[in-house]
């Protein structure tokens, strides 16, 4: 038996000097090899997360206070508004990027609004829809496997492909909807993807089509894992279907619910592919992720400005993340 287990079994009384001695001995038992292994196992992930997450994130924050077109170096001089932009490259711009984004970048506020609409639709429509599908399929209705595959199919397609598939449904000249309602080609055709009042909702329908399947499969897995004796007990206690679900099954699935909540928030904040495929995220389909990309990736990069938009997206993402972490840690403390 190793000294480690022995320590655990025979808990030393408080203030016992022997206990402290044992603990010291336990550390001494970590050989050099152990220490190297621990250092490597902790060090590699630490370095990776520094190199690929923390340093880029902090650099983005720093860059958001500069003007830089991606060529040459940065310097500590303040930008001079009297100079042409090409001579002002790499200068410190203060909060000007944020100010510009909020005041005279027409795409900014629509993008923020669309990100929130996206989140709202996922929370209020896609997730409940996925849950409903899962609950219905869990009842083992006839052909449930077929429905399951049909609903899950969109999840297996890449979002880029989904954008292309729905193009055939929405196109005003040869699209399915306009053809069915007899409005294809003419001037009375409905411009589903071009009209800025319609296109966000049209794209959200595509996104929901996929997201509901995603939520369904996660939820279905959760439902299958619920102990059937709970249902039986609820049945014996005289609970009806609704009561059984909301009072017994739903609370038991708390871990799955949290996973789904996190996925919903992440999926809606990282929304990008569908709008980019549809029209590069312009004219009614602006999203913060698209604005970041269109400013940073490109021939003439506005790296500072794009970084400022990235920081805004980061701040928005921090809200649900901190709420989630706060909730999780509070629960752990209680237990």
């Amino acid at each position: 038996m190793s000294p480690l287990t022995r320590t655990r079994r025979v808990a030393p009384p408080a203030g016992d000097p022997a206990g402290a001695g044992r603990r010291r001995r336990r550390i001494r038992h970590m050989t050099t090899v152990d220490r190297v292994v621990v250092a490597v196992l902790l060090g590699i992930p630490l370095l990776l997360s520094l190199a690929f997450i923390w340093i880029p994130a902090l650099t983005t924050v720093l860059l958001s206070f500069t003007r830089w077109n991606g060529v040459g170096g940065l310097h500590a001089k303040a930008c001079d508004p009297a100079l042409p932009s090409i001579l002002n490259n790499g200068c410190v711009n203060g909060v000007q990027n944020y100010h510009q984004a909020a005041t005279n970048y027409p795409q900014f506020w629509p993008a923020v609004q669309h990100n929130f609409i996206w989140l709202g639709v996922f929370v209020a429509i896609a997730t409940p829809l996925g849950m409903l599908f899962a609950v219905l399929l869990d009842r083992n209705i006839r052909g449930s496997r077929m429905y399951q595959s049909a609903l899950f199919l969109p999840v297996m397609l890449s979002l880029a492909l989904i954008g292309i598939i729905w193009e055939f449904v929405y196109s005003q000249d040869y699209g399915l909807i306009n053809t069915v309602i007899g409005r294809d080609g003419g001037s009375d055709a409905i411009d589903w993807l071009g009209d800025p009042d319609l296109n966000l909702w049209a794209v959200l329908l595509e996104a929901t089509w996929r997201q509901a399947g995603y939520v369904m499969i996660l939820y279905l897995a959760g439902l299958k894992a619920v102990d059937p004796t709970l249902r039986e007990a609820a049945l014996i206690d005289g609970a009806n279907g609704r009561q059984t679900f909301w009072r017994v099954i739903f609370p038991v699935m708390r871990p799955i619910n949290i996973v789904i909540m996190v996925i919903t928030v992440i999926e809606s904040l990282r929304a990008f592919d569908l709008v980019y495929i549809t029209n590069k995220g312009i004219n009614g389909l602006e999203l913060l992720s698209v604005l970041v990309t269109s400013n940073i990736v490109g021939e003439t990069q506005r790296v500072g400005f794009g970084s400022a938009l990235g920081v805004v997206l980061l701040l928005i993402s921090l809200v649900p993340i901190s709420v989630f972490l706060h909730q999780t840690f509070r629960r752990e403390e209680k237990q």
Partner: protein, 445 residues
């Protein structure tokens, strides 16, 4: 790690610091730049070499990624390799990725030569110190080009940076048979153009086919209206922000556009230009204003009746300018600042700047036209012959808004113009102009 660097650090010598800066800048873009930069194999030493040309290898970064242009480009480089006795290694990258990564590509380990565009877009990269001037090449090929082509190849510092290959005009396409059947005549003035549109509409046609889902096609309409109304110099000044966007000249551009809008295919913001071209092919639409590189190329790939396709230059509006100007975007080649084999690359450029080389390229390309004077291309079709003639008549050619302006400004104008297309009321023009001006101030200063 410090992001703030001394201003004296130079682009030419990538150090660990510049590399780290690259990582920082790419923080949110998932290091997209690495894609191209990784193609090279080692650091360039001095950027200049004076070794023998024959037998040396010249690397060529190419965005000619479509099958047809790729074949034409291969024919061009094969004959260039034969003429200069060099080996040419082509590194083809999808043209969108090429354009998006150009900045990091040119700062990393670029190929000796790379494909690029004339106009402000070329001047911008030359001014950043990413391209090598090629005045010595132009001393030899200068006689092959006219003044327009020379101007298009000159940077802001007055030195030459580009060897042009071909260009293509932006004109009004129409179907010959449809015009004949309905007795339409080619309009040369704005009034005749509007009258023709009205006639077509009453005949049940879509007068002007239009698709602007990608955002950029409408920029061409802005360009031509501005050049017809205010002239070439005004247009270029506006795009360099030497004239404010709130100017009356811009107002009259949108005003004329608003007059045209009732005849333009509706729902343009939701239609790609290829679908608009299909309306022209099927003779549902009477006319379409776009580049031959797009419309004629679409007819070729759809195997539509190319012989029935004809075009005319956009009608005159202001008699002062007549039909003197048009958009004719020019593509060509530049020498990287960090080229490893610059003497070999210059020899290749000298060859490409000849009519013979252009003719070799245009054997496979059915929609562009060569720029060299007196270039003899026996394979030209009717569209190409007419393109060359019409470009030749122009007093100046613009390069298209995203090549004549800072691309960030062109992007801003895409959304301004799409808003206009959604609601082309003259009452909204002033607000759009103000938005454009505010964004121009942020971009150009």
């Amino acid at each position: 790690m410090s992001v703030v660097d001394r201003p004296d650090s130079v682009v030419g010598s990538p150090t660990r610091r510049t590399l780290l800066r690259g990582v920082g800048g790419a923080g949110l873009t998932v290091a997209a730049g690495g894609l191209l930069a990784a193609c090279g194999d080692s650091e360039p030493e001095s950027g200049k070499s004076s070794g023998p040309v024959a037998g040396s290898t010249v690397t060529f970064g190419s965005n000619y990624s479509d099958p047809a242009t790729r074949t034409a480009f291969a024919a061009l480089t094969d004959s260039a390799a034969g003429a200069t006795k060099t080996k040419i290694k082509i590194n083809t990258v999808d043209h969108n990725s090429f354009q998006q990564n150009i900045t990091s590509y040119l700062q990393g380990t670029p190929d000796d030569l790379f494909t690029w565009f004339a106009g402000y877009r070329m001047q911008y990269f030359a001014a950043q110190g990413l391209a090598e001037p090629i005045d010595d090449v132009w001393e030899k090929i200068g006689g092959n080009f006219n003044d327009v082509a020379k101007k298009l190849s000159t940077g802001l510092d007055g030195r030459k940076y580009l060897v042009p290959l071909y260009n293509y005009p932006w004109v009004v396409f129409y179907s010959r048979s449809l015009f004949k059947k309905n007795g339409y005549t080619v309009p040369t003035t704005w009034d005749a153009y509007m009258a023709l549109c009205k006639k077509m509409k009453s005949d049940g046609l879509i007068p002007i086919a239009f698709g602007d889902k990608d955002g950029w096609p409408a920029l061409g309409t802005f360009d031509i209206l501005n050049m017809r109304l205010n002239g070439y110099d005004y247009h270029v000044k506006l795009l360099k922000h030497e004239v404010p966007w709130t100017d009356q000249g811009v107002y009259s551009v949108f005003q004329h556009w608003a007059e045209m809008m009732p005849y333009v295919q509706s729902g343009a913001n939701g239609r790609v230009w290829q679908d608009a071209a299909k309306a022209l092919e099927s003779r549902k639409a009477g006319m379409m204003f776009q580049g031959t590189n797009q419309v004629a190329a679409q007819f070729v790939s759809d195997k539509a009746d190319l012989d029935d396709l004809d075009f005319f230059p956009f009608p005159a509006i202001n008699p002062k300018w007549g039909q003197d100007f048009m958009d004719a975007p020019t593509d060509g080649f530049m020498l990287s600042k960090k080229a490893k084999n610059s003497s070999g690359a210059k020899a290749v450029l000298e060859y490409i700047g000849t009519g013979e080389a252009e003719a070799e390229y245009l054997k496979t390309d059915q929609w562009d036209v060569g720029l060299a004077q007196g270039v003899n291309v026996p394979t030209y079709n009717a569209i190409q012959k007419k393109s060359a003639a019409e470009i030749g008549k122009c007093k100046a050619v613009a390069q298209f808004m995203d090549r004549d302006a800072d691309p960030a400004m062109a992007t801003a104008m895409i959304s301004v113009i799409q808003k206009f297309i959604d609601d082309p009321a003259t009452s909204g023009i002033a607000a759009l102009q103000k938005s454009a001006e505010n964004q121009a101030r942020a971009i150009y200063t």
